[in-house]
């Protein structure tokens, strides 16, 4: 187990360094740099000063080496756009993205799994309806869901149509601020969660109906186990394995989907920040966001593998052996 975790840690480190380094070099080698943000009337001295501040006067390789040396001490340089240390910016954005992703994953689990247990163990109109809705939801990617939800929100004013906080959020006490965020959160979280909830529902329904046809369940019926216990205590436990197996995939889907959801609903997360940074060629902010994204990726796949190992002894053997 220790060896397994150590290997995963090495992999995470490699991923973070590789992703952020390639982002840095890609931004550096791309046509144009951050000085175009100064506008056409910037003086030559100002341009030169900015280039020096962001180490653009060095060769790409030497800039990369310098950045890597600094980043190993958790100094990720400054952002041009925000005129602040990148470390603060990516920390806050990553927290926002993580909050969104965790809420979306919890929502997908709480919606998808009970519905799947229901459709997998029943027949009739209600189950067919749930099945149909989830087939539709599988075809609505976060881009469309978030557009639709924003549209509904702006039509009905049921909940805020975007952003993470209201305009006056800075004056609020922390409890009121939290309530404000909680009012803004359902829209992007639902947009992210819907296709994943539908996937969970379909998988759970499939494996539930498979589990219900196993001989041990017939034995339980013969012993006189109550129908409710039959489903919840006997069939469900066995049927969970395929769900655990796709949790890793679901975490990846959250990460990919979060960019467009953050963009459409103006949620100040990592994807949005990276997009702004890329467009402005804000080189250290790009690299910092990429490093954070790489960390998220590595964490996501680690959680996914651990869940898989918990659910399936064979996978545990393959990973740690």
């Amino acid at each position: 187990m220790v060896r397994f975790l150590f290997r995963r840690l090495l992999f995470a480190l490699f991923l973070v360094v590789a992703v952020s380094s390639s982002a840095l070099l890609l931004t550096r080698l791309a046509p144009g740099d951050v000085t175009t943000q100064l506008g056409p009337f910037a003086s030559a001295a100002e341009v030169a000063r900015t280039r020096e501040r962001y180490d653009l006067d060095r060769a790409p390789a030497s800039q990369w080496a310098l950045w890597l040396a600094r980043a190993s001490r958790f100094d990720f340089g400054d952002s041009f756009l925000y005129n602040r240390p990148v470390r603060d910016l990516i920390g806050r954005a990553a927290a926002n993205t993580a909050a969104l992703a965790v809420v979306a994953l919890a929502a997908a689990t709480l919606i998808g799994i009970p519905l799947g247990m229901f459709t997998g163990s029943r027949r009739g109109a209600a189950a067919a309806l749930v099945r149909g809705v989830s087939l539709l939801a599988l075809s609505v990617p976060p881009l469309l869901t978030s557009l639709l939800l924003v549209f509904i929100a702006s039509r009905t004013r049921w909940f805020p149509a975007g952003g993470m906080t209201s305009v006056d959020a800075l004056d609020l006490s922390w409890a009121a601020w939290l309530a404000d965020v909680a009012r803004h959160l359902p829209l992007p979280a639902l947009a992210l969660a819907l296709p994943i909830a539908a996937t969970f529902e379909r998988l759970q329904a499939q494996s539930m109906s498979e589990a219900l046809h196993q001989p041990f369940l017939l034995a339980a019926v013969a012993r006189g186990v109550a129908p409710r216990d039959l489903i919840v205590r006997h069939a469900w436990r066995v049927s969970l394995r395929p769900i655990c197996a796709v949790y890793g995939l679901a975490i990846g889907a959250l990460l990919s989907g979060s960019f467009v959801v953050e963009y459409v609903t103006a949620w100040p997360g990592l994807g949005r920040l990276m997009f702004e940074a890329l467009r402005a060629r804000d080189i250290y902010l790009v690299a910092g966001c990429a490093a954070m994204g790489g960390l998220f990726l590595a964490l996501g796949s680690l959680v996914g593998d651990l869940l898989l190992a918990a659910a399936d002894p064979r996978a545990r053997e393959a990973q740690t052996g």
Partner: protein
């Protein structure tokens, strides 16, 4: 279910192919008196049954974007004139805007039809490219084994770890922002192929590596078939059903990727109608809540994704494959 999906796909393809003929108006033409005009209703009833006709829409207030139907005179539809399926005589009645008009008074239905062309063409070319490259790389890796296999597998594994939409975004964002449509088409195709091939290659590699050991492949080799012939004629055909499944996963992914990139302003120039640029036109929330017909491209994307998903239904692993796709795109 499968049949319904296939019918929908055929309809979308027909819409793309027949766009110049089906579109009532040229997609780039703007009607200055029809900014944000609501959909023109095609009617059949007017004190009795008539051939399809419309009432002319008159601009009442430009500021409030208010329109009124001129009920005094029905304007009949003209069929098969000027190389188009259905139009109206503009001298008699205003433009025929079946799905309304956008901010520039351009016909949304016509733009949607031409947009289907662009989006579908890009996704199809990119899918074919990814399948070809993936089959080639996977075939070589699975056939030769050894060091080449190891290197190619590691490379594709690394690309597969990355969330493709972010990489696509980064690759597109480091290019100049304003490019002609043709260049954007080639650039996006290249980016999509680059990010799409590894998943194909991984599956093809596994299939080729196992098929190689089978008797028919060994027999082919014994009879003197060279590696190229053996791969192309005997081993890769074994992967054809796998390739078909991958195509159904890549195509919607590329449609969505184009829509996402264009929506955030990194895709096609906004004058070129594609599903993504049309969605970008609909990005202004307050305007769209008054002109919901601007969301027509979203409906088109939904229909295509649904159609493709319906055709892959029935295979038990469909939900997982869909999740694998959205995992990256």
């Amino acid at each position: 279910m499968r049949a319904a999906g296939q019918i929908l796909i055929v309809l979308v393809v027909l819409a793309a192919v027949g766009a110049p003929w089906l579109a009532p108006n040229p997609p780039e033409r703007s009607f200055p008196d029809a900014l944000y005009a609501p959909p023109t209703r095609v009617r059949l009833l007017d004190q009795g049954l008539h051939a399809p006709f419309i009432y002319r829409q008159r601009l009442v207030s430009r500021l409030e974007r208010r329109f009124e139907e001129d009920r005094s005179r029905p304007v009949p539809l003209r069929w098969f004139t000027g190389g188009r399926l259905a139009t109206v005589d503009e001298a008699q009645g205003g433009p025929l805007l079946v799905l309304g008009a956008d901010a520039f008074g351009r016909d949304i239905l016509s733009r949607l039809l031409y947009g289907t062309r662009a989006s579908l063409a890009l996704a199809l070319v990119a899918t074919l490219g990814a399948l070809l490259l993936g089959a080639l790389v996977g075939g070589i890796a699975g056939y030769t084994g050894g060091l080449a296999d190891e290197a190619l597998s590691r490379l594709s594994d690394f690309i597969l770890v990355l969330p493709a939409i972010y990489v696509a975004l980064a690759l597109r964002a480091v290019m100049p922002l304003v490019l002609p449509a043709r260049t954007v088409f080639l650039l996006l195709t290249a980016i999509f192929v680059l990010l799409g091939w590894p998943i194909v290659a991984r599956g093809v590699r596994a299939i080729v590596a196992s098929e190689r050991q089978r008797d028919y492949a060994v027999a082919g080799q014994a009879l003197g078939a060279g590696p190229v012939r053996l791969l192309a004629r005997h081993l890769l055909p074994a992967a054809s059903s796998y390739l078909a499944v991958q195509a159904t996963l890549l195509l919607p992914a590329f449609i969505l990727a184009e829509a996402t990139l264009s929506y955030v302003g990194l895709g096609f120039p906004s004058a070129v109608p594609t599903w993504g640029t049309m969605l970008q036109d609909a990005a202004n929330v307050s305007l769209v809540s008054e002109a919901p017909w601007m969301l027509a491209p979203a409906a088109a994307i939904f229909v295509l994704v649904l159609a493709v998903n319906l055709t892959v239904q029935g295979t038990g692993r469909a939900p997982v494959q869909l999740l694998e796709r959205s995992n990256r795109w």
